[in-house]
Amino acid sequence: MNDVLFPEFIKNTSKTIGLEYPKFFKMDNLSKLAFLGAEAILKDNIDLENENDIALVFANKSSSLDTDVKYQDSISDSENYFPSPAVFVYTLPNICVGEISIRHQLKTENAFFVFDDFKPDFMSNYASYLLESGKTEKVLCGWVEYYKNEYKAFVYLVEKSGTIAHDKQNIQTLYNQ
């Protein structure tokens, strides 16, 4: 999705899914990407009346480097030194998962991993473990990569019964589309 500039992508997507969440605009790009990816899936899968036991297992390649570079710029010149907590807080990749947790009140198992590429084996193993061990009812998995306008979000919900088998081949196929 790199022929569309990120800000435009964000604008179009949030409009399409009808997003109303003021805090969204304070987020960094990685969090916005992950948030929208999760929103698109969860808006039809969340029970608004009860607690939802949906674990979050996310990963990417660049960690929070897009924001890290911005933060580094704010401290690299001693004449122009302006480190800000609002930027610094996003220099951790798991913050995007925190934002999703807060939005949907998911007091659930969370984890953020970094790989050089999307790893269906690992994601499948880890999500399956969480389901089989009873640590969670459902798992929202995501590959959310963002660095300098190069972005990719692949988010999917896994549960014990469904229409598509949760195995590495299927995941890789869906990812490649």
Binding site: L56, L92, K107, N110, F115, S133, A165
Partner: protein, 387 residues
């Protein structure tokens, strides 16, 4: 569309153990040296006149000269960064003792990796990837599988151990070499400073005078497998890693995620709370974190269990902290001695918890390690000593 129930691979009912450990810190580059210093009450935290644009701060820093000297005994390649040397030194004796096989995996816990490389304007961004860091270590030790990087703020070190245990139980790997490391950098120092979260004096977890963190750098490593241990070992009997769903930079006032993580660990371990002998807590010495922990421990009915934070000895070592503190906790278990919670004098949390004021000899069978971090994350792991 018709819904089907898919048969998912069953989790093997095998016990997973930590059977080997090591650490590299300002107090020493092996376990024994660290333990001797800790029992004496020594701390790696020192006054730093200047660090980049910051001046007059406290931090726990590994001396470059000492590190390089020790590293030369392992390798004379000079292409490694400080953090890489720390990680390699920590893992080296563990790989010597436990063979890396086709079904071994390397799991790296780090928050920022080689972030100080960003100071170089001509850097290729790939050099700062956490995956690049992991790959270098992976290659150095000859792992055949791809490494896993856990980057989940300050719970990473504990979460990495959970991930190892979970994946071995699932049958994805036979054993795991878990390493954790983070270095002091202007990046993190200035960041915590911008939050006004830095203590003006060496940090004092749970104390009424506490006013923030003291940062530190360290590396730690453990070997995890289902092989029956023959000597000092602990079994990983329960874990939980649950989010507060409250705020991205402050903990839940009710300790929601930490409480749930602890309950999840105990439920899995199937032991009662009264069996717990020791808690190695997160104790960063910020007003909010320590208070939140006291509330969570009280809700879990473990507030009378002997507890300490090790951050008064090592500072807050970020991605290293969870694993480093587990490693030292294991030393407490094997030596049957709990360490004082350094920096603590008078309680500054609203609910009384049993903070250790001095070292205490104690037999420990069950030990809980907790951690919390930015993004509302929390982890809890229960260990059982194996005789």
């Amino acid at each position: 569309m018709e819904k089907k129930r898919w048969i998912i691979k069953m989790i093997a009912n095998k016990t997973i153990y930590i059977t080997d450990a090591n650490c590299v810190t300002p107090l020493g580059f092996d376990l024994e040296t660290n333990w001797i210093a800790l029992v004496k009450g020594q701390s790696g935290i020192q006054f730093q006149e200047k660090y980049g644009n910051l001046s007059s701060i406290y931090a726990s820093i590994i001396e470059d000269e000492k590190l390089n000297e020790s590293f030369l005994k392992v390798s004379n390649e000079n292409t490694f960064t400080k953090l890489e040397k720390m990680l390699i030194l920590a893992l080296h004796p563990i790989v010597n003792k436990n063979k890396v096989t086709e079904k071994s995996v390397l799991i790296l816990s780090t928050t920022k990796g080689n972030i100080s490389l960003l100071e170089n304007q001509e850097l290729l961004i790939e050099e700062a990837y956490l995956g690049t860091l992991a790959k270098k270590i992976n290659t150095f030790f000859g792992f055949k599988t791809e490494p896993i990087v856990v980057s989940n703020a300050c719970v990473s070190g504990v979460l990495a151990v959970s991930v190892a245990k979970r994946m071995i139980q699932f049958g994805a790997y036979d054993n795991a070499f878990v390493i954790a490391g983070d270095e002091i950098s202007e990046f993190v120092l200035s960041g915590f400073n911008s939050f006004q979260a830095m203590s003006s004096l060496p940090c004092a977890p749970y104390d009424e005078s506490r006013n923030g963190v003291t940062l530190g750098e360290a590396a730690a490593a453990v070997y995890i497998s289902s092989e029956k241990p023959t000597e000092n070992a602990v079994a990983i009997i329960g874990d939980g890693a649950i989010n507060d769903a409250n705020h991205i930079s402050g903990p839940s006032r009710t300790g929601e995620g930490l409480f749930k993580s602890i309950e999840s660990a105990f439920k899995e371990a199937n032991i009662t709370k009264d069996k717990l002998d020791y808690i190695s807590a997160h104790g960063t010495a910020t007003l909010y974190n320590d208070e939140m922990e006291a509330i969570a421990f009280s809700r879990s009915h473990i507030d009378t269990v002997a507890i300490n934070s090790l951050k008064g000895y090592y500072g807050h070592t970020l991605g290293a902290s969870g694993l480093l503190e587990i490693v030292i906790g294991l030393q407490s278990v094997y030596n049957e001695e709990l360490l004082a919670s350094k920096g603590f004098k008078n309680s500054g949390v609203s609910i009384p918890i049993a903070i250790l004021k001095e070292n205490r000899k104690k037999e420990i069978k069950y030990f809980l390690k907790t951690a919390s971090g930015f993004g509302g994350c929390n982890t809890a792991i229960l260990f059982e000593k194996i005789n």
